[in-house]
Symmetry: C2
Subunit: 252 residues, 2 copies
């Protein structure tokens, strides 16, 4: 049984607590948070808002904002225990040297109140000592089938790529919605297309799946679309992404 203490209780920690509590291989002994949280969420888990009251555990998982990770790691009063963070963007080296460092990064976008199925979520782990890597591997496997050992410099690249396929893609969804609603059309019209675009990747490489006026260099449609877009920012995004698709498919 791996014992865990969660430090910080935002979206990631709440989802991890829910996932760990379903596993027989893990026990979450305690949750720390600066402000008190509704206790009914916890049941058998101790809560503390005093950082010097943390109980002993196999692994301390820091789930706070990126900037706060080094500060929180420095505040821990114990030494030589395994302390990991859950961030895609922060190097393992930002953790305090007085403890054994590691990373436990679940590569998913967590929203409050929306349950996720952890089984398919890639867990990216990193640690210095072999024994710690093995422990994080078992911890990952307790909630997911996909555990990858990924070093900090690779994780950073992964995080950039995640920004493109998650944050930027979501922004394009909102932009599509904006265009529709400006013309009194329901966003529901686009949802099957959105799902299919994502789902296609099961069968096709994105390069293969590319369609549309940019790919086929249909200048008439491209010009018409640019005339239809009133918002200069939308126009600029349309131009830049059209150009990028054309550059990518120029020689095909």
């Amino acid at each position: 049984m791996i014992s865990v203490v969660l430090i910080g209780y935002g979206n990631v920690a709440a989802h991890l607590l829910r996932a760990f509590s379903k596993s027989d291989a893990v026990t979450v002994k305690q949750v720390f948070n600066r402000t008190k949280i509704s206790t009914k969420t916890f049941e058998n888990v101790d809560f503390t808002n005093a950082i010097h009251d943390l109980v002993e555990a196999d692994c301390y998982i820091i789930c706070v904002s990126d900037d706060a990770i080094p500060l929180v790691a420095d505040q821990l009063r114990f030494k030589n225990r395994l302390v990991v963070h859950t961030s895609g963007a922060v190097s393992m080296e930002k953790l305090s040297a007085k403890n054994r460092k590691g990373v436990f990064y679940p590569l998913q976008s967590f929203s409050k109140d929306k349950p996720v199925d952890f089984k398919t979520i890639p867990i990216c782990i990193e640690a210095v000592a072999d024994a710690d890597i093995q422990l994080l591997h078992r911890l990952g496997k307790s909630i997911s089938e996909e555990v990858y050992e990924i070093a900090s410099d690779s994780r950073e690249k992964l995080h950039v790529a995640a920004v493109f396929v998650n944050n930027f893609v979501n922004y394009l969804y909102s932009l599509g919605k904006e265009i529709l609603e400006a013309h009194n059309l329901p966003f529901a019209l686009l949802k099957p297309l959105i799902n299919e675009t994502a789902h296609k990747l099961t069968f096709l490489e994105p390069y293969e799946a590319q369609t549309g006026p940019a790919k086929r260099n249909d200048q008439k449609t491209i010009q018409k679309h640019l005339e239809l877009l009133n918002n200069p920012e939308h126009k600029e995004i349309y131009k830049l992404l059209t150009q990028a698709i054309q550059n990518q498919h120029r020689n095909t």
Copy 2:
């Protein structure tokens, strides 16, 4: 029973033929294509490559490239029959005036060999005469639960929005894959995130679902990401979309 002739046999026509052939309310009497197609696909459907040999039907569905639609409509030898196209970008008015004009636009991205479930695909219809709208409505309902009457000027806007959430989103997928593979990381790592980003729209508005360094104005991560991106085009896309997200969320 609505009788249909398909004119042109690309992706859209192939998918429509498959969908109509499952419906008791529709019979596809004939398929026209300039070049001969493997007959085993057709079974009970007549094939012709002579445009002047088209049989009589309730509705002729032109499934050719946008540019070719007016040319093909002009070549039809009959008069006063219902002739529709399936394009999101072409105005109904581009069809020849000698026949009754209409549009039957399935809002989906079709790939060869990848079957789609038509039931949830929005079918956007348009026609001049009420009786034609009703016929296209029945035709749409024979394969989908979602049939919308949408005029050409609205359909154009819908098509622009579709380019953002389909073509441009798919390009961002390919860009994510490129970044990963440049660092020997498997694209599989990003697929759960891609699916969740699309799936979230069932529960959340895209504006609500927005996360990431741009949304929270995390300049440190944004600068680090820009340094990590070697490709100037990727850098420019990152900057522009980050700026757009910040403009969108400035007052929240």
